[in-house]
């Protein structure tokens, strides 16, 4: 026994139920002709993404070139920068107030950036 049958059994004596069910039974037999509906829906679907075959190999090649360039140039550069930094900082005695002001500037910059980001969001 379907749910419909069960409901029908419960409400056999109810004139409103009979009217509702007669109406729905009549409509159930009525097929709404497509008349171009499917074609309209298909035209509304988002366009399929065309597969771009050349994109992936090209990107891989570019990454390869970039990584090779970095591998060649970076070690001497990093060494030079590090050597200069050590020379600069080691040769100059730092006072506690210098470090404190550096931390204060860094903190202020961080908080300002956070506040700006929060405000924009």
């Amino acid at each position: 026994m379907s749910a419909r049958d069960a409901r029908e059994g419960d409400r056999a004596g109810d004139w409103l139920d009979r009217a509702l069910m007669e109406g729905s039974a009549e409509r159930a037999g009525t097929y709404i002709d497509d008349a171009g509906f499917t074609a309209t829906v298909m035209a509304m679907l988002p366009a399929a993404l065309a597969p771009v075959n050349w994109r992936k190999p090209a990107l891989l090649a570019l990454w390869g070139v970039a990584v090779a360039g970095l591998a060649v140039t970076l070690p001497p550069t990093v060494l030079d920068v590090t050597r200069e930094a050590v020379r600069l900082f080691a040769g100059r005695p730092f006072a506690l107030s210098d470090i404190a002001s550096l931390v204060a500037v860094f903190g202020a910059a961080t908080w300002t950036a956070t506040w700006l980001a929060w405000r924009r969001a």
Partner: protein, 202 residues
């Protein structure tokens, strides 16, 4: 009424083809199979506004295409479509804060002519029940959106209370409450149709 349907392929197979290989022919077949039921459901929900119903039906199928991957086959495909269609209609009604129209003469003219055509022979009983159905269409407009949706799902789409609850996204108890309230309102609106002795309200 040309219905070219390939019934040898099930809905599940067509869905699988859509998901696996973006098969638009398979989806077109799904639309052809279910367009009549979805449009009929929306015509009832929009109280006979055929143009709006067709627009919402188009949105329904486009949304179905976009979300086909998330369809887990826990309900029938048609039930899933009813769910999307009902959500489209509720969203539209919410946007426009559309109250049931009382001046839908054009739509009622459609209803009138449909009923007049479908009658065939006009015995007094047939005329009476056709008139009752027209008044019922009118009375449906006094229902709230949720009540109308519950009546349409349970009577027109022949869904069980559990399936209607899935379509409407509400607990089964709430669906039953909406149906009871809707029937009470309909009985008040159609009191003149109540057989003698029943007095309209049960």
């Amino acid at each position: 009424m040309a219905r070219a349907r390939d019934d040898t392929v099930t809905d599940a197979q067509l869905i699988a083809r859509c998901v696996a290989s973006d098969d638009r022919h398979a989806f077109a077949e799904l639309v052809r199979r279910h367009q009549s039921a979805v449009r009929a459901c929306l015509r009832r929900l929009t109280a006979g506004n055929h143009a709006l119903a067709d627009d919402l039906a188009q949105d329904t199928f486009v949304l179905a295409w976009r979300n086909l991957k998330s369809f887990r086959q826990e309900a029938r495909f048609s039930t899933w479509l009813y769910r999307i269609a009902t959500n489209c209609w509720l969203g539209h009604a919410r946007k426009r804060r559309e109250r049931p129209r009382c001046d839908g003469d054009a739509d009622l003219a459609d209803v009138d002519s449909d009923d007049a055509d479908s009658g065939g022979e006009h015995t007094p009983d047939a005329t009476r029940s056709a008139s009752l159905r027209i008044d019922l269409e009118r009375a449906m407009r006094v229902l709230s959106e949720a009540e109308r949706a519950a009546i349409v799902q349970c009577y027109d789409n022949d869904l069980s209370h559990e399936e209607a609850a899935y379509v409407l996204g509400m607990p089964v108890g709430t669906v039953k409450t909406h149906i009871l309230r809707a029937k009470r309102k309909l009985k008040v609106a159609l009191a003149s149709w109540a057989p003698e002795g029943e007095g309209g309200l049960a």
